[in-house]
């Protein structure tokens, strides 16, 4: 087998793994969009915030220590304890639920019935707020996250592929774990949406707000729940990205990549988010591998957006989106 093809295969596999991570962020978008029609730009920042909170709790940081130090002239940073990963994840989940409740209570309850674009702008405002809030609460320096996920090259795959092709593929253990977790998450979400009472209520709200309201479903509760679930997805995405590349501001920019993923897959489709993520992940890695060196590299910055743009011109609702019907 020619060497180039083997390299391309490795790139393809790595692209699939990267795509799973994009899909994880995109999932959160789809959930909120389906249930409330809000295009939640803040999803990426929510992942960053969740990761910051998780690290902060694990390390026993004092929240707002910079602010307190600046205002009172004290010098406090840590409580001096370390919380085990599992407990910290539960606590962070609690924080995300409180956040979801606050977002619903303070912001979106007052914006019911506004145009979608106003809601979108509100989520951008929310993103800025959360970004400032997260940094103020936990400090903005780059943090390492370690919740016990395996990292580094997978030796088994390396050996097997070396045996077949005479060249060992480099595949990160973390990516494999991320793929497994993402698959579990999707299965769990599908089961939740199809077979539980709350899930059914959620689907009813997504179908028709007013009809759902008239059969006695509390919109407020469903929206808080959806934001909480999205917060949970953000937490998972935050853990994965945070372990991979450190908890830092660029995490919220990586989440921007989830937008073309959504456009490819369609805003309203959970399978679409997964397939779109895989296409974008594989596409940008292969493009960078094949064309990148010719045009100066770093094509990953824009390839996803341009691909989505060209794709949308031919199919405006995305791969799995509901057909857009326009009436006067």
């Amino acid at each position: 087998m020619p060497e180039q093809l083997i390299f391309a295969m490795e790139v393809f596999l790595n692209g699939l793994m990267a795509g799973v991570l994009y899909a994880l962020v995109a999932l959160g978008f789809v959930l909120i969009y389906k249930a409330s029609g809000i295009f939640n730009y803040a999803q990426g920042v929510m992942a960053l915030f969740a990761a910051l909170t998780l690290v902060g709790i694990m390390e026993g940081q004092v929240p707002f220590s910079h602010l307190i130090n600046a205002a009172l002239g004290t010098d406090i940073h840590h409580f001096g304890w370390h919380v085990p990963g599992f407990v910290a994840i539960l606590l962070t989940m609690g924080v995300m639920v409180i956040l979801a409740w606050l977002v619903q209570k303070v912001v979106f309850r007052h914006l019911v019935g506004q145009e979608p674009i106003i809601l979108f702008m509100a989520t951008i405002g929310l993103a800025y707020f959360l970004e400032g809030f997260g940094d103020l609460m936990w400090g903005s320096e780059i943090k390492t996250m370690n919740v016990g996920l395996p990292q580094g090259m997978n030796l088994a795959i390396d050996e097997v592929t070396y045996g077949i092709f005479g060249y060992g593929f480099f595949i990160d253990n973390l990516d494999i774990v991320a793929t497994v977790i993402a698959a579990l998450l999707v299965v769990a979400l599908v089961i939740f949406a199809q077979y539980t009472k709350q899930g059914r209520a959620m689907r009813a709200v997504a179908d028709d707000h007013q009809a759902a309201l008239s059969v006695g479903i509390s919109l407020n509760f469903i929206w808080v729940m959806v934001w909480s679930v999205a917060g949970f997805v953000a937490l998972v995405a935050g853990i994965m990205w945070g372990t991979k590349s450190g908890v830092q501001f660029s995490l919220s920019l990586i989440a921007l990549k989830a937008l073309p993923v959504l456009m490819l897959g369609g805003f309203t489709s959970i399978p679409g988010a997964i397939v779109g993520g895989l296409i974008i992940g594989v596409g940008e890695k292969l493009f960078e591998f094949a064309i990148g060196p010719m045009v100066g590299g770093a094509t990953e910055n824009w390839f996803a957006y341009v691909l989505a743009l060209i794709f949308l011109v031919f199919r405006p609702q995305g791969l799995f989106g509901e057909k857009i019907i326009e009436r006067v």
Binding site: H66, A122, L136
Partner: protein, 358 residues
Amino acid sequence: MFYREAGDFKTSYDADNQTFPIKFDRIGYYVALLVAFLVVPFMINDYWVNAIFLPFLIYAIAAIGLNILVGYCGQVSLGTGGFMAVGAYACYKLMTSFPEVNIFFHVILAGGITAIVGILFGLPSLRIKGFYLAVATLAAQFFLVWLFNRVPWFYNYSASGQISAPERTLFGVPVTGANTSAWATYLFCLVFLVLCALVARNLTRGMAGRKWMAIRDMDIAAEIIGVNPLKAKMTAFGVSSFFIGISGALFFAVYLGAVEVGEAFGISKSFLVLFMVIIGGLGSIFGSFAGAAFLVLLPVLLKNVLVGGLGWPTDTAAHLEFLIVGALIVTFLIAEPHGLAQLWRVTKEKLRLWPFPH
């Protein structure tokens, strides 16, 4: 009592068609122009110009441009930073390739080039609508910034990858480069702002503006009553990008002097200008001014109070600024979705009667 429309009779079509039909507005406009051109230049120094006036003037041009696209035509764009970069690099290439031509024309031409690029990236808006379009314009943002970063022709093969403005003069007075004086750069940008605002104001009152607003309110209905969506959307993208290109050219040549594209024209710039438009008021030229002034002044104010007054570290103050800007946007959207411009309209309503009850 203080703001009156009554007793202001028009006796000719010209008078009826004035840019500011109400006498009070007209007087206010002339006074503002007089102050801006004849008083401010004598009172400012380098700090004021660099911290407040230049950013305000330049962002106001960009905000007017984006307001035409988002506020008047209803096409949400997140590519403002990329288009500003086009203006800056076009201006740079023109300045270095044709040094004998006046800088004034370079800036205008840079706007024209940006308009062409804007129309190119606006083409998908015929098929893609709403959020899909907003995300599609991100393609322009990331692609353009990457392009200027990677293709050495754009930065004249300089080793640092930066572009820096050579010295150019207007009527013998340097307006770009290292030896500028505060009043010259201020007046140079002010002239552009006044011209852009006048053009924008009159375009939006005229046929083009009405078509844009028809498309914004409901594009299918507009199409049925005879508005050509292709023309309307493309002119909106073109005019909007023209203004944004001018602001990008001024931002690079007059304000910063040297630019690294990813830093100066990144995605955060797109959001900043979008926020100016939202906070100022969608679909209002005055709102663009108000929004630009607000978001230029707020960080300066916060920095002076928190860092200068209370002695906090700069990074904490910067985070607090993020938090406050975000909270303000949400508050604005809840309390007054039409922004500062609407507040101004309400104030004028109140001033008509005040201090009398009826």
